[in-house]
Symmetry: C2
Subunit: 210 residues, 2 copies
Amino acid sequence: MLKLALTKGRIEEKSIEKLALCGYNVEELSDKGRKLLFLCPHPEAETLQIVLAKANDVITYVEHGTCDIGIVGRDTIMEMGGDFYELLDLGFGKCRFALAGLKGKQFYKGFGHRIIATKYPNVTNRYFEAQDTECEIVKIDGSVELAPVLGLADAIVDIVETGSTLKENGLEIYEEIAPISARLIVNNASLKMKNESVGDFIDRLSQVIG
Amino acid sequence: MLKLALTKGRIEEKSIEKLALCGYNVEELSDKGRKLLFLCPHPEAETLQIVLAKANDVITYVEHGTCDIGIVGRDTIMEMGGDFYELLDLGFGKCRFALAGLKGKQFYKGFGHRIIATKYPNVTNRYFEAQDTECEIVKIDGSVELAPVLGLADAIVDIVETGSTLKENGLEIYEEIAPISARLIVNNASLKMKNESVGDFIDRLSQVIG
């Protein structure tokens, strides 16, 4: 049995769609109530045990070997890092990291102490370091787009998909930082010990993405 | 205007109930869609501006002075700490921190390397340090109760309300760590600069709790 940690939310549905295209029986998974653990059998391949988890936890599960493979956004990989293999760009769950703030504020033309609110302090820190610009980072857990509205921060670094959340809050993108999409990650030991079934899974998945 | 950061979820509804009892017009708040910002007027007191936020962010908002006051669980205060006044035990949102794990495992009678999964690494660390017991802490973001089931951890430290989530996953409480309830916190500067309206708010709230 192969254990797969799958990120809940934004990339979950698309992942299930691809697994169905690979021939996995995802019936139980599509019909979930509050369950988080599922078995997805396949007529020819090893059964998948799927754990639905938050993005950070997908990486934790894969790093610790609780799961052999994981599907998670590049945003979380960039923020958390960790010791695992990133083997496949799944091509869906596309969005990007962006620096954004109140419309018309001309962030880069201002001077002085800047406060940036973000769920991604490591990504933000690296971005500003690379630009040799100092800023204070405030870690926010949810609804980062409120921070400039409430006056907590001068700007935010967040993932942006359609941009409608920014627009609703009177914000605009100042600069794009990095593209993001869903990635397949594999536990180091599993890649060696379960080489054949991991390889087989990757082959099947590769054929339905693109 | 007084700005109040209110924790979304578990203690939100009870807080709104108490604010209504205090005479605030919470109509808009009770009827929310995806909005996170609300105005609650009062016939005799200062209008409240309410921001719905995640627990950690309530503390961030109050610490930075984005909000004057906050309502947040003692679990988050114990984990995050911070520079603010904790002025009132609101008496609702009661639960407790507990050490839990698979039923019948007799955690304390075992030996060797122990792994504890938790959303609260600081609380967990202090608890085990006080017992002079070494353990490895794995930070988990959601569904901590799965960690012993999946074999990631020997036990978890989490908040427990009714215990039904533990039961559903075949877990039991090994030890209770600390009682929890919702608390009123106040920004340091606001307590001085807005002393009268903060005091008035606390008086009104005090009369409807207990």
